[in-house]
């Protein structure tokens, strides 16, 4: 059991605010093995980022509090270990790429020095050696003229280049796990594709596992081995990429699929958004959190919280009607899945 690289079981992170308890992460579980890619998908506020931050212990506590569950990295609990120990893991064994490269680099330091920072902190490298390594890393992530570019300041880099620099910084210590928190959201579409390609390419070389957090199923489609779909802080569906794409069980996953724009030259089809707003995490709807927006909602969905259950192998979902042939048949007509 304990031989997974990263194993998260029933993780709960609640924030105690003046307005009430925000259940930002409410019982999330997944495993990640060496070299694997996990896609975590969901709308804004579904708890994707907080899950990652909780594992890194980067959420402000208080107001945040881990209310249950555990995250084990190489068999050691990230949640209970001492601050000094987790500091040795951050940036060294588990590295993180943030959403907005425009604000994630410190404006007063040269790019090279920032990429070199984890090396100085964790590997005890001298500044000069770390800077040399920073040049190599910049070259690795495809920045032209890295020898000159290390001396640049962040404002001299464009968005795509900054995200490349962030990736270089994250990869500096050759981490086992790379957490990418919506790494392409703030970038142009053309740059997005480049960044994703770059991450895949680098994963092949370094063999690090990636947790790819995104709101776009399309981004993880050809990258992830497994996908975790989250809604209102809870896991909604979890399985291999094939299972999620070819045998999706949860109406929310269906909704996400339908909202991916398709290229079509022949036939124009209307884009199908999921109606309504994601719920407030303070007043999560009763029963299934998705029921107010679910087109197939039944009385049972309002009354009863659906249990997360395994459908087949590792493929699981939290829907009362998943696997129910009558339900699937009734809905298949409408959705066309």
């Amino acid at each position: 059991m304990g031989d997974h690289l990263l194993e998260v079981t029933g993780l709960k992170m609640y924030f105690y605010t003046r307005d009430g308890v925000v259940k930002a992460v409410d019982g999330v579980s997944f495993v990640l093995d060496k070299g694997e890619t996990l896609g975590v998908v969901g709308e804004s506020g579904s708890g994707k980022s907080v899950t990652a931050l909780t594992m890194m212990r980067l959420t402000p506590m208080p107001p945040g509090k881990v209310e249950g569950g555990d995250a084990k990295f190489k068999g050691r609990s990230l949640i209970t270990m001492k601050e000094e120990e987790i500091r040795k893991i951050r940036g060294n064994e588990i590295a993180m790429i943030f959403q907005d490269p425009m604000t994630s680099l410190n404006p007063v330091y040269r790019i090279g020095r920032q990429i070199a920072e984890p090396l100085v902190i964790h590997k005890g490298m001298s500044k000069r050696d770390a800077l040399k390594r920073a040049v190599e890393l910049l070259r690795l992530v495809g920045i032209p003229n890295p020898e000159q570019r290390v001396r640049d300041y962040p404002h001299q880099f464009s968005g795509g280049m900054r995200q490349r620099a962030m990736i270089a910084m994250a990869l500096a210590c050759d981490p086992d796990v790379l957490i990418a928190d919506e790494p392409t959201t703030a970038l142009d579409v053309t740059i997005q594709a480049q960044i994703i390609e770059l991450m895949q390419e680098l994963q092949k070389r370094t063999g690090s596992a990636i947790i790819m957090i995104t709101h776009d199923l399309g981004v993880v489609a050809d990258m992830a081995d497994r996908i975790l779909v989250m809604y209102a802080g809870r896991p909604v569906e979890y399985g291999t990429t094939d299972e999620i794409f070819y045998k999706p069980q949860h109406p929310y996953t269906w909704g996400l699929m339908d909202s991916i724009p398709t290229h079509s030259l022949v036939e124009k089809s209307e884009l199908c958004p999921i109606k309504g707003q994601p719920p407030s995490l303070i007043n999560v709807p009763s029963g299934c959190a998705f029921h107010p927006r679910c087109p197939y909602c039944k009385q049972r969905c309002v009354d009863e919280v659906p249990e997360y259950r395994i459908i087949e192998g590792t493929h699981g979902t939290a829907c009362h009607f998943a696997g129910d042939p009558d339900f699937a048949r009734a809905c298949a007509v409408e959705v066309g899945v």
């Binding site: 890194m56 980067l58 500091r87 040795k88 893991i89 951050r90 940036g91 060294n92 590295a95 993180m96 943030f98 907005d100 604000t103 994630s104 680099l105 410190n106 404006p107 007063v108 330091y109 040269r110 920072e117 984890p118 902190i121 964790h122 070259r139 690795l140 992530v141 495809g142 920045i143 032209p144 003229n145 890295p146 000159q148 001396r151 640049d152 300041y153 404002h155 001299q156 880099f157 464009s158 968005g159 795509g160 280049m161 490349r164 962030m166 910084m169 994250a170 142009d188 053309t190 740059i191 480049q194 390609e197 770059l198 390419e201």
Partner: protein, 331 residues
């Protein structure tokens, strides 16, 4: 105009250069090529600030004035006595003859009631004013930075405790507190040192508050989280990531405070609680000259003028620094 032309030239150079550069490990970034890339030296935050400051005429004039009095104060021993006669001592043989002279070639601003050259005394007086200003503000800044950083960074009880102490200190009228402390000292113990200490030890609360709020806002930035995510310790985050980004308002306020402190020193010396004779300070000179206010107004006017000009210079320089250090004012 010229600069713009040069820049666009450089962009084109760069496109060509980039496409010829050696094969990178990855497909090269196409979005970076259109970016202006300064080859000689990357522009730094401080380099940028200096460029902006240079465009501000008033701030530049203030800086020049401050440099002039600084150089004069530092080199005074070398030339003032030779040019105007030693203004620090009373020459009993000539004192009566030179007494209260109007402006002449050898005494450009005239002499005081003891036959000493006023310009020479102003130059020596600037030493006390500048020393008190810089030293007292330095003490305040150091205490203020430390306490402001602690309360801004850690928050919670630490912050509540430090900020309440700050409030207590701010509740006292600052100059009265100085007067109180200095008045309690025996007259022999008065002088420049106690003035520096009393102003410095009472001036920190506003710096602590300012730096705390600055740290609070910088702490929100993503790069602080990013720094934490690469495993930086608290002290590293504070000193490497937050401090350089939060220090600008402190620099501005400190510059302006030096002016205010010079004024306070002048006031304390005027009241006889500050610099003691034979040491010279501008406030002391006004005090000494006040009995001749009607007959020889120059005795009061010139030191007063020096105070006003210097305080104004520090304020203008602070103003200019504020604009120059504002990153949002990128040109």
């Amino acid at each position: 105009m010229n600069e713009n032309d040069r820049k666009s030239d450089r962009v084109e150079d760069h496109v060509i250069e980039d496409s010829h550069s050696g094969l990178p490990a990855m497909p090269p970034v196409t979005d970076g090529i259109a970016h202006v890339h300064d080859e000689q030296a990357s522009r730094t935050l401080w380099g940028d600030a200096w460029r902006r400051l240079r465009k501000n005429r008033l701030a530049l004039a203030a800086l020049v004035w401050l440099l002039i009095i600084l150089v004069a104060a530092v080199t005074a021993d070398l030339w003032v006595a030779r040019a105007f006669g030693d203004p620090t001592t009373i020459d009993s043989t000539t004192a009566a003859a030179n007494r209260l002279m109007g402006p002449t070639l050898s005494h450009p601003l005239g002499t005081d009631d003891l036959g000493r050259d006023i310009l020479g005394r102003l130059i020596y007086g600037s030493r006390a004013s500048l020393t008190v200003g810089v030293a007292a503000v330095s003490i305040s800044v150091i205490i203020g930075l430390l306490l402001g950083a602690l309360s801004g960074f850690y928050g919670g009880l630490t912050e509540a405790f430090i900020m309440r102490i700050t409030d207590v200190f701010l509740a006292f009228p600052y100059i009265l507190f100085c007067v109180l402390i200095l008045a309690m000292l025996p007259p022999g113990a008065r002088g420049i040192g106690p003035v520096i200490l009393s102003i410095g030890l009472l001036g920190w609360p506003s710096f602590a508050r300012l730096f705390r709020s600055s740290v609070l806002s910088v702490k929100q930035n993503d790069y602080v989280d990013a720094g934490r995510a690469v495993g930086a310790s608290d002290s590293r985050l504070m000193f490497r990531h937050i401090m350089p980004n939060a220090i600008a308002p402190i620099i501005v306020y400190a510059t302006m405070s030096i002016g205010g402190t010079i004024l306070t020193e002048a006031a304390l010396s005027f009241l006889g609680l500050g610099v003691q004779p034979p040491q010279i300070s501008w406030g002391r000179m006004i005090n000494d000259g006040r009995s001749y206010l009607i007959s020889n107004p120059g005795l009061v006017f010139w030191p007063g003028f020096a105070i006003i000009l210097t305080v104004l210079a520090f304020t203008l320089l602070g103003d200019g620094l504020r604009d120059a250090l504002d990153v949002k004012m990128k040109d």
